[in-house]
Amino acid sequence: MFDSDKPKARRPTPPFDPRFPNQNQTRNCYQNFLDFHRCVQKMNRRGKSTQPCEYYYHVFHSLCPSSWVQRWTEQIQDGTFAGKI
């Protein structure tokens, strides 16, 4: 679905985010996850391509532990996700 599925050139690490300057990057991970889903939802609502949302996809895939990503995706599918999307 996204460019990340192709085994192409490696992407650089997510850049420094001044909203989260400290060692604890949990919120960085969570915020990018939320931003990705909000972006996709908005683009779908407007009928545009979700290609620009890929940036957030790569960032949270880089930052978040995969178990968290799995758990949140399952919660979204079940409708029990606690965050606001």
């Binding site: 997510p14 420094f16 683009m43 940036y55």
Partner: protein, 82 residues
């Protein structure tokens, strides 16, 4: 309480440095906690009107007192707008 301290200081003037340092330490701690409460972008007071205050931080804004190796004037917003 300030009057008690002044009376003690008059009776035992050698205690004055103690009062000065304890006072400075206490005010410093109180001021830092106030800074955290009011300016830290992680702190959310108003969930209805300002639910994610860290999103209001400009890409150039520095909250830390001292940031090693980060040139804040060169930073810009990374992700695409939507």
């Amino acid at each position: 309480m300030l009057r008690q301290i002044l009376n003690q200081a008059k009776k035992h003037p050698s205690l004055i440095p103690l009062f000065v340092f304890i006072g400075a330490g206490g005010t410093g701690a109180a001021l830092y906690v106030t800074r955290l409460a009011l300016f830290n972008p992680d702190v959310c007071w108003d969930r209805k009107n300002n639910p994610e205050p860290w999103n209001k931080v400009a890409p150039n804004e520095q909250y830390k007192f001292y940031a090693v190796n980060v040139d804040y004037s060169k930073l810009k917003k990374e992700g695409p707008d939507f």
